[in-house]
């Protein structure tokens, strides 16, 4: 999955939308480890790639635990 640098990357799942800011991410892998549904996989720099975005249950654990303000989970239809 090609990921653009320096802009908000929006990935749409079945129920939830994950917005990631790659310019803020430092690749600590906290979101990869603590996602209960294992939505993310780390790329070579440790940054998350949402490979199983349809599994997202919208718990917001990644958003809450991200130290870098780099990830947000939103319900579809909410801007």
């Amino acid at each position: 999955m090609a990921i653009p640098e320096g802009e908000i990357m929006v990935v749409e799942g079945k129920k939830f939308r994950i917005e990631m800011r790659r310019d803020r991410c430092k690749g600590c892998e906290i979101c990869v480890e603590f996602c209960p549904k294992k939505v993310f996989e780390a790329d070579e720099l440790g940054r998350p790639v949402p490979v199983r975005v349809d599994d997202c249950i919208g718990c917001g654990a990644c958003e809450l635990r991200c130290p870098d303000f780099a990830i947000e989970v939103k319900s579809k239809g909410v801007s």
Partner: protein, 280 residues
């Protein structure tokens, strides 16, 4: 998840143009900062009503990312300056952000006396168990026998328990949690903000760059799981022996006392003095 929309959103407190912040990958301070902003949102405070005083250290950089009033002061002296601001203008909500070195080591005396005075200031102590900014030297909160850059074969000194110290010294709200228990950070900070008197929240934070790397935990998830394993709630700790508790991180609310704070006592004395002088 997007949070419930409040009058003032947590993003109103965050200086987003300063991001990405200067903390290392996996540092827990970003999580503490975010939890603090969530607590600001829930407390209904506006950025102009809040004064954040920070000392020196990694956590002392937190003021760079805040839109509240901020003061960045010398090492260990955040509490005296916060005390001065609060007494001069009691309508402000004053917070002192300090690391473990700032609060307990160099500013230890101020911590004891702010607790004793029970001044209406909220101290948020981010404890990463070493001096992260200067290269991972051991501080007074480094666990016994840990490897740091100045104690390569083990730290010979036992760690200082900040919560027990301030509780004994007279602080009326004392709580400790870790970055792993992320929901409780917001809850305790919110409790501290609404508390009358000296309130202190200590958050144990992972430092994968120094403390973690020297102690076989080079990545943030490993350190967070270590914090999870080490943490014992204060309710459970009551029934455990000292041996079982050695090396454990006791989390929970240590003290939550209602009563007189410095300002309420001071106002009483002021009224009494006024009455006395007018009577003459």
């Amino acid at each position: 998840m997007s949070r419930r929309s409040k009058e003032v959103s947590w993003k109103a407190f965050l200086r987003e143009e300063s991001l990405p912040h200067q903390w290392c990958a996996g540092c827990g301070y970003g999580v503490i900062l975010k939890s603090m902003l969530y607590a600001f949102e829930k407390s209904g405070l506006a950025p102009k009503d809040v004064v954040v005083v920070t000392g020196i250290g990694c956590w002392g950089k937190a003021d760079d990312y805040l839109y509240t009033n901020t003061v960045h002061v010398t090492h260990g002296r955040a509490l005296p300056i916060a005390t001065g601001i609060k007494v001069a203008n009691p309508s402000l909500k004053v917070l002192a952000l300090m690391g473990d070195g700032d609060s307990a080591t160099i500013g230890g005396n101020h911590l004891i006396h702010s607790s004793r005075r029970n001044i209406d200031v909220t101290a948020i102590i981010a404890n990463n168990l070493n001096y992260g900014m200067t290269g991972g030297q051991y501080s007074c909160t480094t666990p016994l026998d840990s490897r740091t850059s100045t104690s390569w074969y083990g730290d010979p000194e036992p760690a200082l328990d900040i919560c027990r110290l301030t509780e004994t010294a007279g602080a009326s709200f004392v709580a400790r949690t870790t970055v792993y228990h992320v929901g409780t950070i917001e809850r305790y900070i919110l409790m501290a903000l609404s508390h009358e008197g000296f309130s202190l929240v200590e958050v144990i934070s992972p430092c994968p760059t120094y403390f973690g790397r020297y102690n076989k935990m080079p990545k943030a998830p490993i350190m967070l799981n270590w914090l999870k394993d080490k943490a014992i709630s204060i309710e459970r700790a009551k029934n455990l022996s000292e041996e079982e508790l050695s090396g454990a991180i006791v989390t929970g609310v240590f003290a939550d006392k209602k009563g007189h704070s410095f300002l309420s006592r001071y106002n009483e004395i002021q009224a009494r003095a006024k009455k006395d002088l007018e009577g003459e």
